[in-house]
């Protein structure tokens, strides 16, 4: 039996411990925000936070998150009010939207550890997340503007995300 939290709720799992976190979230919990894009940590569509840090859930076995905290886009904010989500709306980033949950989780993690990233730091952090629609220039701009609104605003402390719920 493996125990962990998902978006603040305690969960137990007794199935195949090699099951990737992505398939547990999607198949078992019906949390469909994290997407399947490649299955080998190449595209970032499945990005979630594990103990506050962005990780690819498609290759991460569930046994590795024992005792840990998983946060998905559904747990990032109640109603899309996280500064990253707000910036995504402000810059009308998404086209098809399939990769965007992963992009936003990656961006939220970046800003949590580095509230004012440089242009290059953004590129470096985001280049593991593919967007075939090609929204990269808007993603970059949205992160810049979220970083401005996040400076001094402790909106979201990923290590603690969901603990109060």
């Amino acid at each position: 039996m493996i125990t962990f939290t998902v978006n603040g709720e305690t969960r137990k799992f007794s199935g195949d411990p090699t099951t990737p976190v992505l398939w547990y979230l999607r198949d078992e919990l019906q949390l469909t925000g994290p997407k399947f894009g490649c299955g080998m940590a190449q595209c970032g569509a499945c990005t979630v936070h594990i103990n506050g840090e962005a990780q690819r859930s498609c290759t991460l076995p569930i046994s590795a998150v024992s005792g840990g905290k998983i946060t998905t886009i559904e747990g990032l904010s109640e109603n899309g009010e996280h500064p990253v989500q707000q910036a995504w709306i402000e810059h009308k980033v998404p086209q098809c939207g399939f990769c965007q949950c992963g992009q936003m989780m990656q961006a939220a993690s970046l800003l949590a550890s580095n509230p004012s990233p440089s242009d290059d730091e953004i590129v470096q952090s985001m280049s593991g997340n593919i967007c075939r629609c090609g929204t990269y220039p808007r993603i970059h701009k949205a992160i810049k503007s979220a970083s401005k609104s996040m400076a001094g605003v402790a909106y979201y402390v990923p290590e603690k995300a969901g603990e109060e719920s």
Binding site: D27, N79, C96, F98, V123, Y136, P137
Partner: protein
Amino acid sequence: MSQYFDLTRRRFLKSSAAVGALVLGTCFTGAAPRVMAGVLAKPSESAKAANLFIALRPDGIVEITCHRSEMGQQIRTAIAQIVADEMEAAWDKVVVIQGKGDPKYGDQNTDGSRSIRYNMQRLREMGASVRHLMRQAAATRWGVSLDACSAEQHIVTHTSGKTLTYAELVNDALNITPPETAKIPLKKRSEWRYINTAMEHIDLKDIVTGKAIFAADVLEPKALIAMIVRPPVVGGKVKSFDAKAAKAIEGVVDIVEIPAPQGAPMFQPKGGIAIIANNTWAAMKGREALTVTWEDGKNGDYNSAAFKESLLTTVASSQSSVRELGDATSILVKDSDKLVADYYAPHLAQAPMEPPCATAMYYKDHVDVWAATQNPQADMATVAAMVGQPQEQINVHVTMLGGGFGRKSKPDFSAEAAYLSMKTGKAIRVQWTREDDIQHGFYHAVSAQHIEASLDKNGAIEAYLHRTAFSPLASTFMEGATSPLSAELRLGFTDNPINTPNMKLENGEAPAKARIGWMRSVSNIFHAFAIQSFIAEAAHKAGRDQKDYLLETIGPDRIVDVTEQNAEYDNYGGDKAVYPLDIGRLRHVIEKVAEMSKWGRKLPKGRGLGIAAHRSFLTYVATVVEVEVSDKGDLKIIKSWASIDAGTVVNTDTVKNQVQGGSIYGITAAISEGITFDKGRVQQSNFHDYRVPRMNDCPLEIEVEIIPSDAPPAGVGEPATPVYAPALCNAIFAACGKRIRQLPIGNQLKA
């Protein structure tokens, strides 16, 4: 604001019909309001039959059906903008219903950048009909003249100041027969409040909160998961398989063989063995444990290196004529100083972020399919053939698409799901992996082109010869076809804009040993690459500025009709009187982008600007790319600019986003290794070896300007793609003097 499924709609209509919702269609039959078909490219008889496009409910909510697939181009928003604007609906009372597959809608094939072109006029007419009905209903109720009543934002106001809401008028309107649409005035452009604005798209909030429903997010019906091992070679078959180990995996519930396709590939599944499990991970492990031996068939010899040589050999000698003016051959044969260039581009995979996925539930008298499909009517036909039921019994519910780019016009995945549901009696979701997507796709054609030109004493092109050869899309529909349809050649080849007295365009045959499919902008990609690269090469030979030479080469403002030069040309199905090939508009986008990019400015060493312009899907785009190439040959794209003339546009921000995204999609052609085959098998498998642009490959700024235009709407989704690779390669030449004629760029800058 948004709802996705027809089931919801049926519920709505059932409940609302009882109390009398006002429903308008393309041509509503019987005593109900009628709206005649507008400018449909080919209005089918069935499209004229009763249909639901607008339903105004008694509570005032207006349901607008989107019958085109949403894949990031914001068509759901655009359709609502058009209808709501003409009907004077309040935006917060608009709900978009995703239409399922149904021939009554007319064309639903969401490709070819034509959703707005085909539908804008009839959508406007339907919206205007509702507005008229509301005004008429109020006038009748008040016993006043129609002219004394105006409609604005869901409210009709009389000149005296009294008002009635649309909700209050629904029942009255049901008894009114509207005049023919031709008699109902449409709004003037200056009166538009939604059309031609940058309003936010309706699915934005659902997307940023993870609530948008893509194919794999359909939770009802609860489905078993199928993963399929398909023959690695097109035309191959299962010889034998051993499923013992796969069956032993916990969660695997069934193993089903899918039959091999017959005849031309069409959109048939490739066949293979399906592992069905009660969760995705078990299906994946089951697939790993399965052993299959294959019979490869006649395409088992497909080798990309050898095929490339055969294509280059084909274009080295005279081929069948596609278009001819003057006598290019005799001038070129005498010119010892002519410019000659061969261009090559490999197969590419569309690789949408969402791999193909569909859920199906088979019943004896119908089949339900939930799919990320660009063309639900093709799903109906393909599924019907696969399960032996009539098309009318196939209900195709269209989900949001996680990108399409042409891959999802080909619904082999829906047919797989339906077949497996038929065999198991259970709801089945077929989930393609990225490996499946890369290795079992319908690929962008591999191509080779040969161009020769003779320059006169002023450097102008006096004679031009261009041969193209590529594995034709026709082969997907006609077994063994080696010649493209004219509809493939018209994509940037037949409609070459070069102004020269002597032109000869030829096409050579080429077989297809893989399944060929459309990819965003299709053969425009390699044709524009060759033509726009060649013009820049000619500029260099003539010692001229790229941009000035490009303008001179396409010549003065005029309308070109290539059919006057013995060419077959269907102009993307657009009437040539309405959508002529207008060199003036092509010149204008070039001049605009030159101004935007400050063309001609002095650049530091290692930097260069490149330009390219092209008309596709009846739209004109010009792009300038600025690059930096280091001494070691490292390439960095600094910035790019694009100007687009797509005629009338509906959502200005969407157009900009599409041009930015279409530009970046165009980078794929330049940097990806492409899809290569050996022994008939695709050699790439996932994003580690099939490279697609990432943020660090892309400019962080792509400036876009839309040319303001009252011309009829043309395409937007595709036309920014073909210009990008040639503009990029022209910039590379300007930066470091290396000319890229063969894609991908690969290590060519390092040599």
